[in-house]
């Protein structure tokens, strides 16, 4: 399910790490979108694991909220310290393009993770194919509606966590295109939140008031999934309504277990952090890297959540990822 395409670079790294011992001053800066979200903590955990294996210092940076201006300052500050490499998840596609190009131009290799930026001046881009994730959500929803009503037909809606975020927009686009494949499913609503759980909850309540016959909804990140799930529990609609959400934080897992979320579309943030640091280190030592790596998505339902293949993706403490060199 989750691709190990990143392993391809492993072979190159074996030779490389043997030839070039790490400098004492080696550090890799990892800049996430928002430190308040569990998703980004998983990125940090993966980065830490890679840092330990490589013997490099991993600097964990980011502002508490998604804030492009703050992130640009953090990026510039980090670049000023001349780290071996910078791993960054750009908050806003347009805004981070120039700053990333400038840092690359100054000789610090940049590994972009999770979301794109408007530039091609980076060493590698490790991301979930968010559009594919959105499509997977649409398919899971259609399957759920079919299971429960016998036919993939009815009204569906989606909740966007924030406006103007490339990764969220791609998920939504994938979802809409995915739903369009089913002739009897119709998207009837979309609301945009401020990335706050209780707001996701209220929007779900209100969309269900507007269309009482709504068959399903797609929540495009963890905050919205947690909020929408809470709304469905409160209304005791778990067995009727088909809620599909992106990511898998503790709140979403709780709602997956209590039946209010039908499926979670999970990505591999741990791998983004882990491979991001490895790639940054490799780029700093002159390795040539693939320009684009898909870290994969998958759909988890209550029925298959116990599958050992998902264990490390749903609970970071169960994650076992051997270093590339040892695989």
């Amino acid at each position: 399910m989750v691709k190990r395409a990143v392993l391809l670079a492993g072979a190159a790294l074996v030779a490389l790490t043997a030839a070039a011992p790490a400098r004492a001053a080696d550090s890799v800066a990892v800049i996430v979108k928002a430190t308040t979200s569990e998703y980004w903590q998983w990125v940090f955990k993966g980065a830490e694991a890679a840092g330990k294996e490589l013997g490099v210092k991993v600097e964990e940076l980011g502002s508490p909220k998604d804030d492009a201006a703050a992130q640009i300052s953090i990026l510039e500050g980090a670049a000023g310290k001349k780290p071996a490499a910078i791993v960054i998840a750009p908050t806003i596609f347009e805004a981070l393009g120039e700053p990333i190009a400038a840092v690359s131009g100054a000789g610090v290799p940049v590994i972009v993770i999770d979301s794109g930026a408007k530039t091609d001046k980076y060493a590698s881009f490790l991301t979930t194919n968010n559009e594919a994730g959105g499509k997977a959500a649409a398919d899971a929803m259609a399957q759920c509606i079919k299971e429960r009503s016998g036919k993939a037909a009815g009204k569906v809606a989606f909740i966007t966590a924030m406006a103007g975020h490339e990764s969220l927009d791609s998920r939504d686009k994938g979802f809409k295109e995915g739903i369009a494949v089913y002739p009897d499913l119709k998207v009837v609503g979309n609301r945009v939140a401020n990335n706050e759980e209780a707001q996701g909850m209220s929007l779900t309540d209100d969309m269900l008031t507007k269309d009482a016959d709504l068959a399903g909804a797609f929540a495009d990140n963890a905050q919205m999934g947690t909020g929408a799930g809470a709304a469905i529990v409160e209304k005791k609609l778990g067995s009727k309504f088909c809620l599909v959400a992106f990511d898998a934080d503790a709140g979403e897992l709780e709602h997956l277990k209590d039946g209010s979320i039908y499926a979670l579309i999970i990505q591999d943030p741990y791998m983004m952090g882990y491979a991001g640091v490895w790639y940054g280190y490799a780029a700093a030592h002159g390795a040539r890297l693939p320009k684009f790596v898909d870290t994969g998505v998958g759909a988890v339902t209550k029925a298959n959540m116990a599958d050992p293949a998902f264990a490390g993706l749903l609970d970071v403490s169960k994650r076992k990822l051997a270093p590339f060199t040892g695989n």
């Binding site: 909220k65 979309n190 706050e196 809470a230 409160e234 934080d249």
Partner: protein
């Protein structure tokens, strides 16, 4: 305007405009959105408004003394995460909640001390608090969502009594209590007096620190309550909860007739302000208004209500 009519407007209580506006909006929505006046939607709105109204009532207390509390959203997140962490570390329900409220009250005491003893402007103190307590929320959660909330408090947040959601009843209890304190006790009179003219209040021997501490402890304490209720509703605590709630709370109090210069504002007004915002959010979804236009319309509506209210104030002062 004829003098009699002018006199009538002058005698209107401060919260009249927001209440009139909200009722007009209800009527319009009842007419335009077929599902607005349904039992389900009314119960939804009651649940949705409760936490923001509770937090707005707290912030109102600081606005009345010509202060402000920008830290409430962060305090709600911090205390929400704290209570969830205590639950998940095996503390009993009552003990976990008690510890959380003690911490919340301490936050208020720290704010009050910085404002009154150190003389730092409330705006700066609580702006710092906005950062600090969000930071604490992140620290004690490790940036992760915290599960392990006991079923009993989740059931409380989802339950209702005599057809009214428990959350709404909690909000009513808070509103009535603070309404009583502000309107019918000596502490309440002192709060308004301090907000109207701090110097005069000091000269009259009002125990200034005690009153300032009351205001900020009420604000932080109610933010704590809001945070605990949010956690109960969501089944988990997240460090990103209650983001920007301080702005909503201030807007609710001000739209409800409170003056940022102090000395004026009521619980009824703050609650009505919170109800107005909840109604707008609900109405926007029911009418399928573009989410971006919704933001613009909400901002314009705030400006309009406050403008009308200011017109009345000007007449009151004879300008």
């Amino acid at each position: 305007m004829r003098p009699a009519l002018g006199a009538f407007f002058q005698r209107l209580p401060v919260e009249s405009y927001v209440i009139a506006f909200t009722i007009l909006l209800w009527l319009a929505l009842a007419f335009l959105a077929p599902n607005f006046l349904t039992e389900g939607n009314i119960a939804n709105m009651m649940r949705q408004v409760s936490v923001s109204a509770i937090i707005a009532i707290g912030v109102l207390c600081t606005i009345v003394i010509a202060g402000i509390d920008l830290s409430v959203g962060s305090v709600a997140a911090f205390c929400g995460v704290l209570v969830a962490q205590l639950f998940s570390h095996g503390f009993g329900l009552a003990l976990a909640i008690a510890i959380t409220f003690v911490v919340g009250a301490l936050v208020g005491l720290v704010n009050a001390s910085a404002v009154d003893k150190l003389g730092i402007p409330a705006f700066i103190v609580t702006l710092a608090g906005l950062q600090v307590y969000r930071g604490f929320a992140l620290l004690i959660s490790g940036g992760m969502t915290v599960a392990g909330v006991p079923q009993s408090i989740k059931d409380f947040a989802r339950g209702s009594l005599l057809g009214l959601p428990n959350l709404f009843l909690t909000m009513l209890a808070v509103a009535l209590t603070v309404h009583y304190v502000l309107g019918y006790t000596r502490t309440g009179r002192y709060l308004y007096a301090l907000g109207s003219d701090a110097e005069a209040a000091r000269r009259q021997g009002i125990p200034v620190f005690r009153i300032v501490a009351t205001a900020y402890m009420l604000s932080a304490g109610l933010a704590t309550l809001g945070g605990v209720l949010l956690v109960a509703r969501l089944s988990v605590a997240s460090p990103s909860m209650a983001n920007a709630y301080e702005l909503q709370a201030i807007a609710a109090a001000v739209v409800g007739g409170a003056s940022l210069f102090g000395g004026r504002g009521t619980v009824l007004g703050a609650v009505a302000g919170a109800v107005l915002f909840t109604t707008m959010g609900n109405g926007a979804v029911l009418l399928d208004i573009d989410p971006f236009w919704e933001m613009v319309l909400e901002g314009l509506l705030i400006a309009l209500v406050v403008y009308l209210d200011n017109l009345q104030k000007k007449r009151l002062s004879g300008a």
